[in-house]
Symmetry: C2
Subunit: 433 residues, 2 copies
């Protein structure tokens, strides 16, 4: 690239898979990326528009004329095309849509009419839907004919009734294993998994994982077959959702990829740090209540962060398990009471062990058995609080419709900090003076 060897660069890029090409562009520094994009601009693989992410994506869309984007969109499957169009500026999207054929435009506009992150956005509209009485032979003959509406890759044939409602699916392998005379209705899987076009992608991913689906029929509000979601899209959804949960738990927010714009990332993290500053001040106010005790005994100031930190860690442990349990549906209202008992027993077990260790430590360090006792008691108490609120906070948030991954950790660590400082300093003020 540095040598501006256009032909050489083009040659290398031609040999790369679109996914590898996207990786290369994302890793390059901004200036060289733009240079490379200008070099290869005229023969960009349509798949690249779909594979690329982050800042590199913005650059690619900016450099490519809208007519070329429209050509690429025509080559892509509906779901990929929708993904590309979602992120264009409004006026560019209009221009690209106008340049498409009427069929493509209608299909894409319909998909875009479904809410973001819904099955309607993920689905592909080209699919094979046939009536029950069709035979394996007729099916194969149809597939061999040169019909433009047949998708590139497909894994199931959908069997529909006269109202175009899905009544069964036939995996391709089953079509191939049966004689030409057999009717599809005879070999189909009845009660197919049907997904509403408005369903959230998280729900769709859950069904795919649970029932090991490869593709599933998508229906509109009148139960008519309108598209198909395939597992390769779901793999991306699962990665995305897990990523979101991890980052949300750490307070990084959504704009988290190492390729996002600097300003957005800073702002996203700042919000979280500001909230954390407010809660830390709250904990400090609690400490301020006991300034007289601390003045009398500086050891309290030395030990108090330990109680708060242990509570925070134990609370995070329980909270993370709870957030994941809610996401994977292992935790629900039906078994909440049992899980709470379990968490409290874990907290009690760990609390007693850690209290003994840390009580002895405080005694030896400051030569005061009373201080050791107060420290140990505060430790057990705070771990029990951590176990309880680590579970109840995410469950409560989920019940009122807030994503527990995003909001839980502020609440849980505030509670364990405040209660940790209060229990330790309060007990010390009561017992030691």
């Amino acid at each position: 690239v540095r040598a501006e060897d256009a032909a050489g660069a083009r040659q290398i890029c031609d040999d790369l898979h679109a996914a590898d090409m996207a990786d290369l562009l994302q890793v390059l520094p901004a200036r060289e990326r733009r240079k490379l994009l200008n070099l290869i601009q005229s023969d960009i693989d349509p798949e690249l528009f779909h594979e690329i992410e982050g800042e590199a994506r913005g650059d690619l869309y900016e450099i490519t004329p809208n007519t070329q984007i429209a050509d690429a969109v025509t080559e892509l499957e509906t779901d990929e095309a929708v993904y590309v169009l979602e992120d264009l500026r409004d006026e560019d999207r209009e221009e690209v849509l106008r340049a498409l054929s009427a069929d493509d435009r209608v299909a894409i506009e319909e998909s875009l009419s479904y809410p973001e992150d819904s099955a309607g956005r993920l689905m592909q509209r080209d699919l094979i839907a046939l009536p029950e009485f069709w035979t394996v032979g007729q099916t194969i003959d149809l597939l061999r004919s040169d019909d433009a509406d047949i998708p590139d890759d497909f894994y199931d044939i959908f069997v529909v009734d006269p109202a175009h409602k899905p009544v069964g699916t036939v995996p391709l392998s089953r079509v191939m294993r049966n004689q030409r005379g057999v009717a599809l209705g005879h070999i189909m899987e009845k009660k197919p998994h049907v997904i509403e076009a408005t369903a959230d992608q998280e729900e769709v991913a859950y069904a795919f994982t649970k029932y090991h689906l490869i593709s599933a029929a998508v229906v509109d509000e009148s139960q008519r077959l309108v598209g198909v979601v395939t597992v390769d899209d779901i793999v991306e959804v699962i990665e995305e959702e897990a990523q979101e949960d991890i980052l949300a738990l750490a307070g990084v927010g959504e704009s988290a990829s190492v390729n996002e714009s600097l300003f957005e990332v800073t702002r996203g993290r700042f919000t979280w740090l500001l909230v954390n500053l407010a809660t830390a001040v709250l904990a400090s106010v609690v400490i301020g209540l006991f300034d007289a005790a601390i003045e009398q005994m500086v050891a309290l100031a030395v030990l108090m962060p330990i109680v708060a930190s242990m509570g925070g860690n134990a609370g995070t442990q329980t909270m993370t398990v709870a957030v994941r349990g809610l996401a994977t549906k292992e935790l629900s209202a039906t078994n909440a009471a049992r899980i709470l008992k379990r968490e409290l027993m874990i907290a009690l077990g760990n609390g007693v062990l850690l209290a003994v260790i840390s009580g002895l430590l405080a005694w030896l360090w400051f030569g005061s058995p009373g201080l050791g006792g107060v420290f140990a008691a505060a430790m057990i108490f705070n771990l029990l609080v951590a176990g309880m609120f680590g579970l109840l906070v995410p469950m409560g948030l989920a019940r009122v419709g807030i994503d527990p991954a995003i909001a839980s950790s502020v609440f849980v660590t505030t509670i364990t900090d405040v209660i940790g400082f209060f229990a330790f300093l309060g007990l010390a003020a009561l017992w030691l003076f």
Copy 2:
């Protein structure tokens, strides 16, 4: 279940998909679960052995005689059978293996000989491998014949050379769309994605996600085709790995499902809390160095947890992004310097803003502009430290071969705690007295 209505319970369970049945068993309290298992014992769906998890899994294996497990294993695909056998006690596993047919036993023992979490364990051994010169017609005729070695579901036909090395793949949809006379070699996808049987499942999942694969050929050390990994297994791997990362970051360890045994969970979390206790003590030792300053000015004790907590949070933000960046390969040695600069700029931006806010706060609260200045300076400094080590710690751990998800947060929070207390109290001791 409570009414011991055996026939009724069996009826309901028969109608359930194995995955739903597994969910039901996992949610039931232990006593009722065992009762239900005893009721339905004689007609358990073989798939249930593969779907079930956690404590319920132990109960199911205990209640079912080994001969019945062997029957179920025969019904399952190789990869599912391996998954079931992995978790049996050694003597039970021997007994089940002995009860299998010689073919099945050899296949499963070979799979078990690959390391845990490797492609060899995930793969299924039944597959369709044909030479290049075979035609579409011959292929369909073979598939229609009643050959026991043909798997239930398959998505690609593998084309192999005379040495049984994979040279291409043909998606089923492409077989169906071509005339009977066309040779497979003519329509195959060349350069197929080939996976070594010893490859780690995380690598395999990465390739599936990146290249949108549905199935991929697995080869042994001499590059011969030995099995196939399908995307439904990969979906589970992705969920599992993301889950592991989330839980490891929170210090919960692997035994984390809400269905694990109480003792193991408590022990897993205890280890982490003990490590955290040690690092918290380290931070307290730093505080102890400045006890004279704290005695003179209790406000220091009130404010110091804020500096440490803000550093810890900012460090966790950077660290989480870095851990995920390493997992998704967005972060590597080639772009580390650029990302470090970026993180330091984010830290500086947020640090300055938060320092102004918190400096003013400390000034107003305690009426001392000097204290406000010290507080603000310590805040900026600690956020820069957090940004730097939040990135360098995970990268360093990954370089020496330690999973950054497991070990990073101890190091990062220890560093931000120690440096946070040291910077704030040290600057205060220097400037204020």
